[in-house]
């Protein structure tokens, strides 16, 4: 639940809790059903890899851009990955222009952590001259339409955009200078760490919540599962969960991984 969306009327809350008691959800899905994922066709950015996806009515656009620059002093043999998320004011009447707020920063870090902890992007491959010059990947996430579960939508779009990304080959000429070639290299994705977000309403865990569900939920959690079924990262948001609930959420995430991964693979 984003802070800015937290004004809820009690009627909606009661209605959603009653529905859940009957085993139902607002849009007719089962508790562990993900909304349809649609990838919009066309070119919408000037990036080297992009994806505009719809997860139900939530829409996000992710673009991957490259640059060259100095590596971090503690990882001279790795490229640099920079992630950034913007909750655009077009996405919701409650989003305001301005620098990324707490929610935007958290979302971007949750996606970043999933990708990084699974070592999904082969950063070792992105060194031009060790200790001096490496590729920098900018993963910019744009939220266009907010109908809940931005984390999962942004993760899916990011993986597709990264998987599609191609960067120009360069020849190191010394002194931090490079010659840029016309030839392009594809970014290597070694893993697909997919985020699964759950909210708790009453005793139920609902996967891929819509906005209304996020607004009334008592607790929420985002779990990243990789191709081996390992848990790569977790972000518990507001509220609390029992151990059993968290284990159950992980199991549901693991059981859904293949479905989402096949959509991502198809689109790359």
């Amino acid at each position: 639940m984003l802070e800015s969306e937290s004004v809820v009327n009690t009627l909606l809350r009661d209605y959603l809790y009653d529905l859940v008691k009957e085993g139902k959800r607002l849009d007719g899905r089962t508790f562990d059903e993900i909304r349809p994922i649609e990838v919009k066709e066309g070119t919408f950015t000037k990036s080297e890899g992009e994806a505009w996806i719809k997860l139900g009515k939530t829409q996000v656009l992710v673009g991957v851009k490259f640059d060259v620059g100095e590596p971090f002093p503690d990882t001279p043999d790795k490229g640099v990955l920079v992630t950034n998320a913007e909750l655009l004011p077009v996405a919701s009447p409650t989003f305001e222009p301005g620098p990324p707020n707490e929610d935007a920063i958290e979302i971007s870090r949750v996606v970043d952590r999933a990708i990084r902890s699974a070592d999904a992007v082969d950063l070792n491959n992105l060194v031009i001259k060790e200790g001096e010059l490496v590729y920098m990947i900018f993963l910019d996430m744009y939220v266009l339409d907010h109908d809940g579960n931005l984390d999962d939508a942004l993760t899916i779009a990011s993986l597709i955009a990264l998987g599609r990304a191609k960067y120009p080959k360069v020849i190191y000429k010394g002194d931090g200078d490079v010659e840029v070639l016309d030839e392009k290299e594809s970014l290597v994705l070694k893993d697909l760490p997919i985020n699964f977000t759950f909210v708790k309403i009453g005793d139920a865990l609902l996967l891929d919540p819509v906005l209304e569900e996020e607004m009334v939920a008592e607790a929420s959690i985002t779990i990243a599962i990789n191709q081996e079924g390992k848990v790569c990262s977790i972000q518990k948001r507001h509220g609390y969960f029992t151990m059993e609930e968290i284990k159950k959420a992980v199991e549901i995430g693991r059981s859904k991984w293949t479905d989402v991964a096949s959509v991502i693979r198809r689109e790359i």
Binding site: T45, Q59, K65, F66, A91, P93, P97, D145, D147
Partner: protein, 250 residues
Amino acid sequence: MPLYVEKKPERLITEEGVRTDGRLPHEIRPIRMTVGVLERADGSALVEWGGNRILAAVFGPREVHPKHLMLPDKALVRARYNMAPFSTPERRRPGPDRRSVELSKVIREALKPAIFVENYPGAVIDIFVEVLRSDAGTRVAGVTAASLALAHAGIAMRGLVAACAAGRVGEFVVCDPNHDEDMWGEADMPMAMMMESRKITLLQIDGPMTPEQFEEALNMAKRGIEFVYELQKEALKRPYVLVERRIRGV
């Protein structure tokens, strides 16, 4: 040592007036407009214009925050022009720069005269123009998209605002300058008009033109604008045409 180096073409226009993208001086780039692309905005539009991809969204009339900005007798109109980090060859730092602050202002001033602001005292109408991909002429495409989003939001307007740029390349006056002409051409002249009265609500010039060239540029931009206006009307009607077809079963 940038990863993306702009290469200036050998020449911008041939003696016959053929431009770097193959167009003749009076020709406009391919344009596609779609309204209602966003769910949560009150009005929205996506304009694909050459290589530009511009998303516009409108919220309002709604309550003004902060309150002290409220106007007792008319609506407050706010506009924000923003470029995505991935909209340019080299990644742009997110957030407003001086250029986008100015463009936000001229876009607002291009649209405001067409809005019946007196119909919405004490309210605000927020207009957001998001440049997803830039390829010369983003402000005219932005005005065009924002005007569509306003109409799609059901805001009372005197009419649509349509926009198009003209420019000068060597001795040629051209319609709808492309990226090369924008970068290396002699003059650029974005223009917008309120279509019900043919009054000009946006006009900027960057680069010298003789009085004759200026007049030619005005006519060139006006012809472009009239073409854009036809596409706007078609885009606004399209959803209803589709519904009508479905009802009639054709």
